[in-house]
Subunit: 433 residues, 2 copies
Amino acid sequence: MLFADIDLLDENLDYRTHQWVGVSDGRIAYLGDAAPEGADAAAYGEVYDGRGKLLMPAFYNAHAHAPMTLLRGYAENLPLQSWLNDRVFPFEAKITPEDCYWGTLLSCAEMARYGVVSFSDMYYHMQEGARAAIDAGLKMNVSDTLIAFGDVGLDELPLRAQDDRLVSELHGAADGRIVVDCNIHAEYTSNPRAVADMAAYAKANGLRIQLHASETALEHEECKQRHDGLTPIRYFESLGVLDVPVTAAHCVWVDDEDIDVLVRRGVFVAANPASNMKLGSGFAPIPKMLERGVNVCLGTDGMASNNNHDMMQDLYLLALLYKGATHDPAVVTPKQALAAATRMGALSQGRADCGYVAVGAKADLCVVDTSGPSWAPMTNPLVNVVYAGHGADVCLTMCDGRVVYRDGSYPTLDVERAKAEVDARTKRIIGEL
Amino acid sequence: MLFADIDLLDENLDYRTHQWVGVSDGRIAYLGDAAPEGADAAAYGEVYDGRGKLLMPAFYNAHAHAPMTLLRGYAENLPLQSWLNDRVFPFEAKITPEDCYWGTLLSCAEMARYGVVSFSDMYYHMQEGARAAIDAGLKMNVSDTLIAFGDVGLDELPLRAQDDRLVSELHGAADGRIVVDCNIHAEYTSNPRAVADMAAYAKANGLRIQLHASETALEHEECKQRHDGLTPIRYFESLGVLDVPVTAAHCVWVDDEDIDVLVRRGVFVAANPASNMKLGSGFAPIPKMLERGVNVCLGTDGMASNNNHDMMQDLYLLALLYKGATHDPAVVTPKQALAAATRMGALSQGRADCGYVAVGAKADLCVVDTSGPSWAPMTNPLVNVVYAGHGADVCLTMCDGRVVYRDGSYPTLDVERAKAEVDARTKRIIGEL
């Protein structure tokens, strides 16, 4: 595809008008302020009329539980313990592998709709989740959840064999779109032996780790009581977890010393502003993290606490709420927020050639229709993207050069079937409860 | 129009499936779970296929500065004083009446697009703003800004004659769509004599008052220093302002005694969550206000601090952020938030027969397309509206029975012209600075 005469946000997220961008073999092969010459131009296939549109890097969702679309609207307005114990856990106990496939496929549809091409996921029955992402044409960092109560090591858990199987069957599958990560659900749902084993397993296999850390004040404080004053971040560091690349979701209650560790170890912090507000967890110290150089990326989390995968809504929150929380309107610039939602997310997934618009990068792109009334005047296009635009303004999403959403159509999946399946499966599960 | 076989949120915001709603003479004339009989049905004109759609009360924007679309993206990421003194005030000094018309018309386009039918506005050149609302087919509570430094009374200000003229020319105009309100910009931009005069003027003329109160901590504290410990709310009460119906925007820093006053006087508090966060003002005590029975409504504020008029985005914020700020996920229910954005907003504008779906109410409606992937499953439709839905899902907006937005079209206005005018006028003003 050749995007013709289109405005864009370049690799520095700077605005350029009237550009031509050619995509071939899944990558950006041409970028210039005029059309490529003759025969070259034809090689890109369809010419896309870019007038009135903005080409951007697509979004990378750094923290999700994709099958949880099944729970959308089911666990609302509840204190965290009741949310978890009375609603989420009993519901999840009824979810089958096939349910996970359809829940993930619907998540993929939502993400494609809103310009998201890749997501880091933490759940169960991950073969099914990965199958959905492959079918949908998206990228996914798959991690099967480690939960290990009692003094049990990784080798004694079924997860060990599952992870071996995930790695052999899926790591690098679908032309590298599927990446298998290791997982540690959280400090409070595991024991030091299993955590250390998982760290060693990740190191031995060259894998990354996804985990939750310091989501709630209770978790953070109880961890310190259990582990000689170690916070979740320092507990994980002490067990070798941070020796491999880690994406730590939430980090709402991290302290200054934790932030030092996050910087020193290059940990990717997946901010989940919607989820953290909805569950009453609080506001992460994102301004301080950005100032100190933490790799901040952005996630939608599960649909029982968000309740959609519109990353532009989360982007808006990321660029908005910390100004309110700190009483400082200068913190978290639009560019920092947009980088978190794009390039930093790609890096958090180990996808070094993704998340920016330049020749050689993977063609993970979204096109935003800037013709709506919220986009005028175009005094500051980047500000319009972050604060005035909407996920629904995305009119084309491309992953590795393949169109996965365009003008209401989903070329890779049957969205009506996905909606109907999730609706029926949710009804079945609620009926069983 | 006859909405056929449509799901809806009724006057209690409860969900009903497969309803028929007939609109005639600007009002809801029929509501039932079957089509009206024979000749009656034909009287409603077009039959709208409601399958896969949700009919809701339209939104009422309780606090806006509509011409400020001209400033969208112009004053970003700045401390409040610099935002105001270095960017907003110098820009505003260049705005002409015709600029106000086009800025307001573009705001009207945005609002119609996102299901908003009515807005309370506080700015200058209000004849022009009202003209735009009339042209756009929307409702508007017009208030020309009182700013009065020094010991000057209302009679000595040009505003007195302007308000007389507004009242005689526009109060009740366009079949009641235009309402003229009085205005007090804020405590810190006026003197007690002018404020008391305005209160008396409003009382004598049977008008409502729009004002700003306790937006920032500085304003709140300085007011107490200037006025023997009186907060802005108690200062206004002491001068008779609260003897008439008042919409007080922001109220971020109100204390418990202020909240008592707000309840006792039936003041409408226009929450502006986006603006308060973006300018670093803080979080209003909305949960406490709701618990104590304050009339909470919702506003978008000006586009230099939001940056769009998508009320569903503000609705989402209203239902989300106070859970984070109070660490209590049970505060501000979806129903409370939606009532603030609809019925309470209508009441704040003195529009008693607006803001709910029932026979006899004004036909101020929006239709939401629930076919997008974020709407499945439909476990809790109201929760989906508030947390999963998007302003862009609005596919039809109706004001007093007249369609003002439908499927990308704006029957009442030329949106391309409005965008082009605002773009050109903004460029002109920036060029003059």
